[in-house]
């Protein structure tokens, strides 16, 4: 199985592609905790953990298993990160300190 060649950052990419590819890892890991932390009062650390883990895991798994699927892996990872943030935050106890 030639994982390396099928992964998103496999070489022979143009400058344009290379810069765009590198945004994906940040999209699926860091964007949701940033935005939720600023704009959603109920966002918790547990929500952030779940968001990062689900976002990265979904993205990497889909990128390896079916990189050309109907739903792009980065988009699926992004949606998983949102779900993780919501699920994790709502299941945790109320935040001790008000923001």
């Amino acid at each position: 199985m030639r994982i390396l060649e099928r992964t998103p950052l496999a070489s022979k990419l143009s400058v344009y592609q290379r810069v765009n590819e590198s945004g994906k890892v940040v999209l699926v890991s860091s964007f949701v905790p940033l935005a939720a932390g600023l704009f959603w009062r109920r966002a918790t650390a547990r929500g952030a953990h779940l968001s990062i883990v689900l976002g990265l895991a979904t993205w990497i798994a889909l990128e390896m298993a079916m990189p050309e699927a109907l739903v792009p892996p980065a988009l699926a990872g992004f949606l998983a990160a949102i779900l993780g943030m919501i699920a994790g935050s709502l299941t945790s106890a109320a935040r001790p300190k008000a923001h």
Binding site: L4, S14, A48, L75
Partner: protein, 473 residues
């Protein structure tokens, strides 16, 4: 003559960067320019950072092949990203008074969130910086007519940018970005005017592009096309919001209003000026169709430099173009060297030295920048495709290194820090070992690394417990 102008410009701009380093006295000055930059400097540094080799060489190459719908990520997504940052993110983040985006994650959530997002952010810069260093090598090679080889071009370019970035941090980067923005704006406007004359006017070029369907933005109404188009767009638009380079520029502003407004203005300027390289490259298909056709099959990134170097373009216009191109790459390279190094020092290294005095921490940041530059340059230089691929796959590092410690630290009560260290070491060693020895075996290397990482966590956590128990009994 072109080469001499480039050399003089390079020496002067690097010299100004080194001079600006005299204002740096502590890590705050180094990372966020002491939070005292006026609006025109912040706008310039936002604009110049994003206007890099991908804007001048990458976007036009993709545009010629795929039209507007192919460049939805950059410039459409990227300029919207800066505008969104200005509208929604700049003010609350500025008020928190932080040095890095990782600090925000620690304050709002937890230490694991800080570590993991910082790792992802640092990794995401590797390909970006590598691309700028390669582009520097290419441009030095072209303007010296081959006298400077590409590898030497990369070394000269990376080391000179390193010198002032390391000494002056955000201060030097901001001041040089201001000068570079002026050169980019003047150079692009002048060369656009010159080339539109050669191609028969702006109207002729635009109507030719429109008639060949290049100006359609929306993709075909197929579900898959729409989804992929949408993903490319938000990857750049939202994925670039938590980037340290954007954050650093917002934080370096003098006031909250300046932070927000200059991000919006920088985004708008970027959007306007990103069209000029596209226009130039498309004009080439009217001016010299044979050259464009030949390059389309090989490397469409060379269409624009080839057009500018053709004898019909006057030497003054060539100087302006390469001045602007070098400025664009230089500001992008300095920003993308500084941002991940500051993040790495502040959010990964600093917690291991809790009582480090500020001046020593400043030196640590400088050492990290040097290390990062040497690393990225040597990878950019390396002609061994497998090493290069491995770096480009660097996000797997998070899978084999950081995933297990994060999950176990959160959800396994018996996890210890020895377990976490063994997990990282086992995971990385096994992954690199498999990647080197048997990359195409039945077991994918990163999967083996992940399993080893779990094993390390269990062994480390349980063994330490047993040792402790023995010691106490």
């Amino acid at each position: 003559m072109l080469l001499w102008f480039v050399i003089i410009y390079w020496i002067v701009s690097v010299g100004i960067g080194i001079y600006a380093a005299k204002w740096v006295h502590n890590t705050r000055d180094f990372a966020v320019a002491g939070r005292r930059m006026p609006m025109y400097i912040v706008t310039a540094t936002v604009f110049a950072t994003w206007f890099g080799s991908e804007t001048v060489l990458g976007i036009p190459a993709t545009f010629i092949k795929e039209g507007f719908s192919g460049v939805i990520a950059d410039p459409f997504g990227s300029s919207l990203c800066l505008i969104l940052v200005g509208l929604f993110f700049a003010r609350p983040l500025y008020r928190m008074n932080l040095i890095t985006i990782g600090d925000y994650y620690r304050k709002r959530f937890s230490r694991p969130v800080e570590m993991l997002t910082t790792l992802c952010i640092v990794v995401s810069y590797l390909g970006w910086v590598g691309a700028q260093i390669k582009a520097l090598g290419l441009v030095f090679n072209v303007v010296s007519d081959g006298q400077i080889t590409q590898p030497w071009g990369m070394i000269i370019g990376a080391s000179t940018v390193l010198v002032y970035t390391m000494l002056g941090g955000m201060f030097s980067v901001a001041i040089t970005d201001f000068i570079q923005m002026i050169i980019i704006v003047l150079g692009m406007l002048y060369i656009g005017w010159e080339v539109s004359g050669l191609a028969g006017g702006v109207g002729a070029v635009v109507s030719h592009a429109a008639s060949s369907g290049k100006l359609h933005i929306l993709p075909a109404l197929e579900l898959k096309d729409v989804l992929w188009f949408f993903a490319a767009w938000i990857t750049m638009m939202l994925g670039s919001i938590p980037q340290q380079d954007v954050f650093q520029r917002v934080q370096s502003a003098k006031t909250e209003d300046i932070a927000a407004r200059s991000s919006i203005l920088g985004g708008c300027l970027y959007f306007c000026f990103a069209f000029i390289p596209m226009f130039l490259a498309y004009s080439a298909s009217l001016i010299d169709p044979a050259m464009v056709k030949a390059n389309l099959d090989k490397d469409s990134q060379l269409i624009l430099p080839n057009l500018i170097l053709s004898p019909i373009v006057p030497i003054f216009a060539q100087i302006m173009f390469f001045g602007a191109l070098l400025s664009a790459i230089k500001s992008c390279a300095s920003a993308t060297l500084l941002a991940p190094s500051v993040s790495f020092s502040e959010n990964i290294l600093k917690p291991f030295f809790p009582h480090i005095p500020d001046h020593k921490f400043l030196n640590l940041m400088r050492v990290v920048i040097v290390g990062f530059t040497v690393l990225v340059t040597s990878f950019a230089l390396s002609t061994d495709a497998s090493i290069y691929k491995m770096v480009e796959n660097a996000y797997k590092v998070t899978l084999v290194g950081a995933f297990v410690p994060l999950v176990c630290g959160l959800y396994w009560r018996r996890a210890t820090s020895l377990g976490a260290m063994l997990a990282i070491i086992f995971g990385l060693l096994v992954w690199i070992g498999f990647e080197a020895v048997n990359p195409d075996g039945t077991v994918p290397p990163q999967l083996a690394g992940l399993v080893a990482s779990f094993a390390g966590m269990i062994v480390g956590s349980l063994a330490l417990r047993t040792l402790q128990r023995e010691a106490t009994t």
